[in-house]
């Protein structure tokens, strides 16, 4: 589904990703763990199409489609979803308005008509209820006055509505207490499907207690330096990243 080959990317001429390879198959959950500064968030932004980054070498395809040939909104329409580490606040754009704009934009990109408003409202209510998102929150400006946990739940709500093929979760656990972590994880687990894949980026193992990965990767200095099963996450939790920082530096 997602195929990244020898990816090099830099920001302001500073190389961050240095030859990253990653293959994710439908239905799989891949965890990418690594120390701060290893390039985890850069990977998510580069995939999503943020302008600040320059891809200098390599390729990334989603179901064979060249992601780098598409603008950010086209990548989303092609089925890529990035759950932000720090979801942005947009005062004045009601959450509901934003959700509707996103859902309909993607429908239009697929050549489908807009979803009729009553049907859309029903769909949102359904998904929002499961995530404990109140109708009051949906009326408020996007993420405005939302707690850290509410913002992350809102990300999962968007994911649920947009039904992407590939979900990239960038440090979704950061800033979450244990209860919020549970709600968010349950939201993610509910979306697991045989034709949908996840790339879960995290610094800590605790998120992986809730979202069980099939494959765990260790990222350091802009590359995947080790790949293993779920047990790798536990090993990292016990021993830290010191080995990998050293290994990549050496």
């Amino acid at each position: 589904m997602l195929s990244i080959k020898n990816l090099h990317a830099s920001i302001e001429d500073k190389p961050i990703l240095r030859g990253l390879d990653l293959e994710v198959k439908p239905g799989e959950v891949h965890a990418i763990m690594g120390p701060n500064g290893s390039g985890k968030s850069t990977l998510s932004y580069v995939l999503a199409g943020k302008d600040d980054y320059e891809v200098t070498e390599g390729s990334a395809t989603l179901d064979g489609q060249d992601l780098f040939a598409l603008a950010a909104d086209e990548r989303a329409a092609a089925g890529l979803f990035l759950a932000f580490q720090y979801p942005l606040e947009i005062p004045g754009v009601a959450t509901m308005t934003f959700l509707k704009a996103a859902v309909n934009a993607q429908r239009r990109a697929r050549g489908e008509g807009d979803l009729p408003t009553p049907q859309f409202m029903k769909l949102v209510r359904e998904k929002a209820d499961g995530l404990g998102i109140s109708s009051d929150m949906l009326k408020r400006g996007l993420n405005v006055g939302f707690s850290g946990g509410e913002k992350k739940r809102n990300e999962i709500l968007q994911m649920a509505l947009l039904e992407p093929k590939l979900c990239v979760l960038d440090e979704t656990d950061s800033g979450l207490d244990i209860d919020a972590l549970k709600v968010v994880s349950e939201g993610v687990n509910a979306l697991r499907a045989k034709d949908r894949a996840f790339v879960v980026i995290t610094h800590y193992q605790r998120l992986l207690d809730h979202i069980a990965p099939d494959v765990v990767h260790v990222m350091a200095k802009g590359r995947i330096v080790r790949t293993g099963g779920p047990e790798l996450a536990h090993e990292l939790e016990a021993r830290g990243y010191a080995d990998y920082v050293g290994e990549a530096a050496a």
């Binding site: 302008d51 909104d73 004045g92 754009v93």
Partner: protein, 439 residues
């Protein structure tokens, strides 16, 4: 004070003199009103059209913007009235006492004069013919010496005089609709409103034009007595070839409340002047506005809030989105007179530039002569935030649509303060139409 006599007149100034000379005899009003008009026009003649050398007009050079003077419009014909009826359609859902002027002339068939109890509405031309005429044209609220006001006083043929009785909350808003139809003319309108002690009213003022190179000049004076409240929503949607000059002058008594919102959506060049004077203690004013312009349009908001009483609070917030080579001007001044202690004044002007060539000029000023006050002002000029745009795009929303959402959010902050739901929707709709037209 300044008796500089200019011997060289511009074409527009000469034409205005000629138009005034020929129109004068036919303008409504008694002898005192005629005298008032003559004095006003003489004041204009002495000063002339202000150029950028006049500080108050530095960023809006009226002499350059007004190359000629359009003739005063005649009575509208059937085609014009039909066009006006269409222009009023978006207001159909808003229940209001409606006084409609087409090309500056009252049109009864497009009006609904049924007033709420305790509210009286009279046509200005009728008031001008009575002994109260001079008072209506010079009620002490309008700033003296302002060229736009002087021209309005000299030429105004009709308008509305409204009075809300003490203690009365008007159950229906009053809508004054000004519609321009035809190819090119000048139209002058005036609203003289008084809200008695403890009274409460919502005034709606709209200026609509589809096409045509018109010159419109509107003056609204609003006297809000002690304990009274007035809300004014103005929608300026003139044709894109129109020169629109507008003045709002408000005098607030004690424990009075003012809330105004002005939308600037149309006109080739528009200047909205707002003068608010606190004359009684413990009153509040919220003065807001939103504007958007593209091409080489010019939007000016000039604001003076004068605190001359104790414990009054004012909030001023204006937002403008500019595209193409459009330009916005914000001149805002809060004056705190000696003794106006415990004044709380905050002013903010924000412009969003959607193109490289758009320009926003902001000149906020504070003049404080009391020592126990809290006053502040701010001005921001900037482009759309790329981080926020990326967030929207990452959800599949295309660039232009993402920009539209952001601009909507930007102006939405002030639009949302309009309390009347129908008006809020109307203004939101207008903003959306502009945004859609850009994409």
């Amino acid at each position: 004070m300044n008796a500089e006599v200019r011997s060289i007149r511009t074409a527009a100034e000469t034409a205005l003199s000629e138009i005034f000379a020929s129109a004068f005899a036919g303008l409504p009003g008694d002898a005192a009103v005629a005298e008032r008009r003559r004095t006003a026009f003489d004041a204009f003649k002495t000063a002339g059209l202000p150029s950028r050398r006049v500080e108050d007009w530095k960023y809006t050079d009226l002499r350059a913007l007004m190359r000629d003077a359009k003739p005063v419009a005649g009575a509208p014909d059937g085609v014009m009235i039909a066009a006006a009826r269409g222009a009023l359609a978006p207001y159909a859902a808003i229940d209001a006492t409606r006084v409609t002027f087409v090309n500056g002339r009252f049109v009864e068939e497009l009006s609904d004069l049924a007033t709420a109890e305790g509210v009286s509405v009279t046509l200005l031309k009728d008031t001008l013919a009575t002994g109260a005429g001079v008072e209506a044209l010079s009620d002490g609220v309008s700033p003296v010496g302002n060229v736009a006001v002087a021209l309005n006083t000299a030429f105004v043929a009709d308008g509305v005089v409204v009075s809300v009785a003490p203690g009365v909350t008007a159950s229906r808003p009053l809508h004054v609709a000004n519609i321009q139809a035809g190819s090119e003319h000048a139209a002058y309108g005036r609203v003289v409103a008084r809200v008695g002690e403890g009274g409460n009213v919502l005034l709606i003022e709209s200026h609509i034009g589809d096409a045509g190179a018109h010159q419109t000049n509107s003056v609204v004076t609003l006297d809000v007595a002690d304990g009274a409240r007035a809300e004014l929503v103005k929608i300026q949607d003139e044709s894109l070839d129109t020169l629109h000059l507008a003045t709002l002058a408000v005098r607030l008594g004690a424990k009075a409340e003012l809330k105004t919102f002005a939308l600037a959506a149309g006109a080739r060049a528009a200047r909205q002047q707002i003068y608010v004077s606190f004359t009684g203690d413990a009153s509040t004013a919220e003065i807001r506005g939103a504007g958007f312009a593209g091409a080489s349009r010019h939007l000016d908001t000039t604001l003076v809030v004068e605190h001359d009483a104790v414990g009054c609070a004012s909030r001023e917030h204006f937002k403008t989105a500019l595209d193409g080579e459009a330009r916005s001007v914000f001149q805002g001044k809060i004056v705190v007179k000696p003794g106006a202690q415990k004044t709380d004044g905050k002013m903010m002007a924000q412009a969003l530039l959607l193109s490289e060539a758009a320009e926003a000029d902001a000149k906020p000023e504070l003049e404080i002569f009391a020592d126990d006050v809290v006053c502040g002002h701010g001005a921001t000029v900037g482009a759309l935030d790329d981080e926020l745009l990326f967030y929207l795009k990452s959800r599949g929303i295309p660039q232009k649509e993402a920009e539209a959402l952001m601009v909507q959010a930007f102006v939405g902050e002030v639009i949302e303060t309009i309390e009347h739901e129908g008006l809020r929707e109307l203004v939101t709709h207008r903003a959306l139409a502009w945004l859609t037209a850009r994409t």
